[in-house]
Symmetry: C2
Subunit: 405 residues, 2 copies
């Protein structure tokens, strides 16, 4: 089926997810079925590894390592944030890449990432076509933020959402311990798109979830926020809030951005948005409040993966290999939801150039009328994506992670 | 075996853990085996519920609810922080309690909590003996902080430690994604004892754990901290730090205490110790840094319980019932480690008055020479406590929690 016998070059780029390595597993497992593929070569730290000739090789890995990729968070092969210039402007990196491609007989290039990574992928495809070097190039989607366009959702989102839903339930149940509670403000990742913050609403199906949700898609005002909190706290004597790190005022300025604060050492305070809002609740409303910043645990939550997400992450890896071997190039693999109940997806393709540098935000029709929560459409969208578990490989009470050689 | 036919009154007090409800399950399951016990009555919000005659009854609960107690975090019956005065000083609460005890034929009183709860329990035992009302009173230990004296460890600690070990592994692996990393500072619970922060060291057995650990047992100085961070970062280009919320300088003043900062709204900053240290790393050392505050997820982590911990939590509940029925009173159940390899414990008793208001801190012999980490003795102590899993009851991707009626 493949156009040419040769090697696959695979890389990871951008922020890690808890299932990006499952996509690597999918690539490996599919590649091993095809005789045209001689070796899978992994770039160390994405495109930087290709430029530096810094590689891992599939033939050097053992079976346990490959199997553990399905349970390993982070980027097992290393990631990078590196923006390639257009080759028409500066072709030095591209000339170097072409040398590497030829030296290692790279005929298939697979790049696993988000918006910026699709940009890199697209530019390399552009150059290789221009220079007339025969190779087939495919983007494999990943991001916890779920902001890639042209795909129903993105691998990585479901597991991060599952972690957030279950953590919000636990925080909510924990708050019930005392009759006079607090306002708890949980800060959730997502700089420009609120998909992860919105997912926390699913926790309410259990009876224990957030009362208020603030998204970057809706301009944030302190006055409205204080009104909302006062109303909920008056009624329930407690209030659980999910807030996106990326909320902005109506001028598009991040609420979390430095307010010019200095501490006793003369350092600027970098403070998160949740602690900022928590201080406002305590001081202006006189209500006890605390903040929780989940931080990188959201994208690294290998101990609470969604099985749906893991399986789809594996499958987009497989689909990418099948695509390049069938002669397809310059596209990103997409997931199309065919039906929601029962949940069913099909895999497709979309031109890379159209996937790069665009962000998919939550449509207003999924946000509630009061703009401080979401509606059933959002719940229906998220629910199938967190379904099923992929329990970690525990040994002595802690997880086993892949150690690539 | 029991002295008198009658009812058990059970309550939860102090900060929740992810397995305190497993102890309630142990009480229930054991009580149902004994004909002398007619009903188990649960105080709503601990001793406050007894004073307000606000109860749940075992006979009103269904089997699913009771079974789910083993998987439910927080305090399913509600908790409280309420300090009883000595009855010789003010006996009004005690007179009320005696009325309630008689009205509901309470002959067995079980109180599930930490230091302060054992104080409450001890005072009630004291009064009932003084007034010559026949009843048998037992404390059931719980706390994630592991600071109760006279017991090898405390139910609740193992699960919180397991959550922290696995979360630190994930954060550490996530950090490896980029060649030039950051200093990540994770703030861990424990105001006066560093057991939970110290447990993070177990993550290093996997190859992915903290480089530096700061405990409340060791006086903290900014200069030493900066030296440590510089050294590690110079060597590894990244640094993962576990810091207890309770670290203090050599005058016993909390590093996290308000430094007099105000924000743009004129509010005092409450800021956590991790963000404070993170700012120092960024500003003074010029190294990129970020902080993670795990917050209440540490004590509510029902999705990552240690099976050892769950089983022991159930067993201390059972032992308390067996003890009062055998005529024992005025003691707390203790766990004694008989051997470490294989891990084996026996259950014992210790006088309540001796367990109240005392804190068990980490002995210096478990802390490393450089005072920025722990040694093998601490690892050996923690390891068996995080062993085994008790997977949540998931439905549609989220956990099922008990809803007491």
């Amino acid at each position: 089926m493949g156009k040419l016998k040769g090697n696959i070059l695979y890389g990871q780029s951008g922020g890690p997810t808890s299932v990006i390595n499952a996509s690597a597993f999918g690539v490996i497992d599919e590649a091993q079925k095809h005789k045209d593929i001689e070796e899978v070569i992994f770039m160390k730290h994405g495109i930087k590894g290709a430029l530096n000739e810094d590689f891992f090789f599939l033939s050097h890995q053992d079976e346990t390592t490959i199997e553990l990729l399905k349970h390993t968070p982070g980027s097992a092969f290393g990631s990078v944030r590196y923006k390639l210039k257009d080759f028409r402007e500066d072709d030095s990196n591209y000339v170097r890449l072409l040398y590497i491609f030829k030296k290692y007989n790279i005929r298939y290039f697979l790049y696993n990432g988000g918006n910026d990574s699709m940009d890199t992928c697209s530019k390399i495809a552009d150059y290789m076509k221009h220079i007339d070097y025969d190779c087939w190039i495919m983007g494999i989607p990943k991001t916890i933020d779920n902001d890639l366009p042209n795909t129903d959702h993105t691998p990585g989102y479901g597991s991060a959402a599952k972690y957030i839903v279950n953590t919000m339930m636990e925080i909510s149940y924990d708050m019930l311990a005392y009759p006079n509670g607090k306002v708890t403000i949980v800060e959730i990742m997502g700089r420009h798109a609120g998909w992860l913050t919105a997912a926390s609403a699913v926790a309410n199906l259990s009876g224990f979830g957030p009362d208020l949700i603030y998204l970057p898609e809706v301009p944030f005002t302190i006055e409205k926020f204080k009104e909302d909190v006062k109303r909920v706290y008056h009624e329930k004597k407690q209030c659980l809030i999910a807030v996106s790190e990326g909320i902005q005022n109506d001028e598009g300025i991040f609420i979390s951005s430095s307010s010019g604060l200095k501490d006793a050492f003369g350092h600027f305070q970098l403070g998160g948005v949740s602690s900022k809002l928590s201080n406002i609740v305590s001081a202006d409303l006189g209500i006890p409040s605390r903040s929780v910043e989940l931080g990188s645990t959201q994208r690294a939550c290998s101990h609470l993966q969604s099985l749906t997400d893991v399986n789809e992450a594996i499958q987009v890896g497989r689909e990418a290999v099948k695509a390049v071997l069938s002669g397809m190039t310059d596209h990103m693999i997409t997931i199309n939801r065919v039906s929601n109940d029962p949940y069913k997806v099909e895999y497709g393709f979309h031109p890379l150039s159209d996937c790069a540098n665009t962000e998919k935000r939550i449509p207003l029709e999924m946000i509630n009328e009061d703009r401080n929560g979401v509606n059933q459409k959002l719940i229906d969208y998220v629910l199938p994506l967190i379904e099923g578990e992929n329990p970690p490989k525990f040994k002595n009470g802690f997880q086993q992670f892949a150690k690539v050689k």
